[in-house]
């Protein structure tokens, strides 16, 4: 593996600054995620909680980024916003060239379906459906015909080495296998970003490594990966680490810089 190739995919601080500062302007084609002053307030029984206080983030295509932070830092909120599960109180969010921060519920559903592949800590597979059916689900909502759906879902499962477990239900699979089913499901629609939320949180360290290797491979193959985690050693698998603190980005650096800072 060459760092040379990885570096080519990484955006520089200056480039990011340039794309973030031009508010209202559609980012260039190679920017998958651009947020400008993203804020999210929650009304907790009369008291307003500022979960995000202006997040500026830019991610270029093919980047593998970890978003880190302690609990309460706002990383879950940011992950919900990036995943189009939630809408910001203020600020812009551009995903793959579209301004999603002002979209309706149905438009967001479509964006989730086409542009985002989720991998959750708790896998979030449908318990009574086979692995194959679970992977087919995004295609069902995309309106893909049954035969085509089956073929693509089987392909996606083969990519995570589960071609021989297609008819198994989640409770017949190990934790690592379940997470691989979830990854296959996330990839089946060929999304702009793979968005993982604590993907190894429920796995032992050996299985975690296995999942991390898959992410590595996907990133090598050109998949943009965003991984939210609170574990520094997991975050260190990504090539760029964004640290969130009190609703703001406190650092945004290369893996090597981050690793050096954390270990010392």
């Amino acid at each position: 593996m060459s760092y040379q190739r990885m570096d080519a995919a990484l955006s520089s601080t200056d480039e990011r600054h340039a794309v973030i500062s031009s508010a209202g302007v559609t980012p260039g084609k190679d920017w998958v995620i651009v947020t400008r002053g993203l804020r999210r307030d929650y009304d907790m029984g009369g008291e307003v909680v500022h979960a995000l206080r202006g997040v500026d983030l830019a991610v270029r295509r093919n980047e593998y980024v970890a978003i880190m932070g302690p609990s309460g830092s706002g990383k879950s909120t940011l992950m919900n916003l990036i995943g189009c599960l939630d809408t910001p109180t203020a600020g812009e969010y551009w995903l793959n060239g579209s301004l999603v921060s002002s979209m309706s519920d149905d438009e967001l559903a479509r964006v989730r379906n086409r542009e985002i592949g989720f991998v959750f800590q708790t896998f979030n597979l449908l318990p009574r459906a086979s692995a194959l059916h679970n992977v087919e689900l995004p295609l069902v909502y995309a309106g893909v015909a049954a035969a085509e759906r089956r073929r693509r879902a089987a392909d996606a499962l083969a990519r995570v080495q589960l071609g021989d477990r297609m008819e198994h239900r989640p409770n017949e699979l190990s934790g690592g296998q379940r997470q691989r089913v979830a990854i296959a499901r996330a990839l089946v629609n060929d999304p702009a970003i793979l968005l993982a939320d604590e993907p190894t949180g429920n796995l032992d360290s050996q299985t975690s490594d296995e999942i991390m290797r898959i992410f590595e491979q996907l990133a090598d193959q050109g998949q943009t990966v965003i991984m939210v985690t609170h574990e520094a050693d997991i975050a260190a698998h990504a090539r760029r680490v964004v640290v969130l603190r009190d609703g703001r980005i406190s650092s945004d650096e290369r893996r090597e810089q981050f690793a050096a800072r954390v270990t010392t």
Binding site: N80, G83, L85, D86, D105, D106, A109, R110, R112, N113, R114, F118, F120, N124, L125, L126, R128, L137, P138, V140, Y141, A142, G143, A146, R185, N189
Partner: protein, 413 residues
Amino acid sequence: MPLRDAIVLALSQLRVQKLKSFFTLIGVMIGVMFLIGVVSIVEGMGRYVQEGVGGKLLGVNTFTLRRRPDFTAGNVTEATWREWSRRPRIMREDVEAVAAVLPAEDAWAVDNSDWVDAQSRFARSPQVLAHAASASIFAIKHLDIASGRAYSEQEAKFGKPVVVIGQEVADYYFPGLNPIGRELRFDGLPYRVVGVLEKQGTVFGLPLDRQVFAPDLSPLARLTNPRGDVDGVIVQSPTPAGVQEAQEIVRETMRSRHQLRPGVEDDFALESSESALSAWAKIQRILVIAGMVLPAIGLVVGAIVIMNIMLMAVAQRTREIGIRKALGARRRDILRQFLVEAATLSVLGAIVGIALGVGLAHAIAAVSPLPSSVALWSVLLAIALGAGVGIVAGIYPASRASKLDPVVALRAE
């Protein structure tokens, strides 16, 4: 999500929760069962009446000129009865006048009847229903001859003492014998049996196989109608329109013979199978409406149960809804999923209910003289009601499910 996928999903959901689904279905099942049962029985009664009145008693495309109606719905008041008693009788001359003006393609027959004593060399009594009728009566009423022959116009005209007898009469008065050519006496007068009718069964308790037919000008007429009048004249036209036309002709003829001024009510009755059946149709409507109360209660209860079950399902499957939304399900996809699930549940209940209802109808047919007749429209109505109940009951739970916030739903349990 396409409808087919939604139905497959709904069915798999039912498979998972068989017992719960069964209890959910009971309301709809019972409602539909009684719907089918009630409609089948009423329809069966309707067919029984129609075949009896339209087919056997009156004949097809016919009407009868009588002094007073034979078929009446409900109670006849004292005043009406007195009016009927004051009416002039229908006489032979009336028959001739009417026959003279009827279109050539129409057939007509005088038909007088009464219960009279009969006896043969082998048996005497009980009474038989004796008709003194024109020869054309056999054609008009589709009275088919099993053996021998009907009497001819000639024999009728000359009042020959010949008789055509029903199956039961033949069996009783001539046990084990061929009755053709043998003698049957009415009030001591000997009649020669020339024919035996096909078996006809019973209509409204009237034993049609205990009838005998003799020419209307034979001495039998003096037994049935001692005053020399005529009970009724049956007129048959080839078409329903012809019946209408003939009725008007007869009405005008009779009114002018009775010298009725315009505006004065008819003092005779023109009775068609249609008019007799309209009385039944009224009763049938009341029966159907009354019979709908039970199914309606069942369906309302069914709807409430389904709504509750669906609300529970939405609560239990919040996480699933969250996952589906995260993967791109729109509001309408979730709405549709739960609506289809409720409707599938309910239609399944309706199908089971239809099977039970058909069974109920057959059971009642087996223990009563009523034939059961499962109406196609009631089956279609049952399925439509099933789907409708499911959809109505599913709207609220499904809309709650569709409005769930994906972030909150994903955090459930």
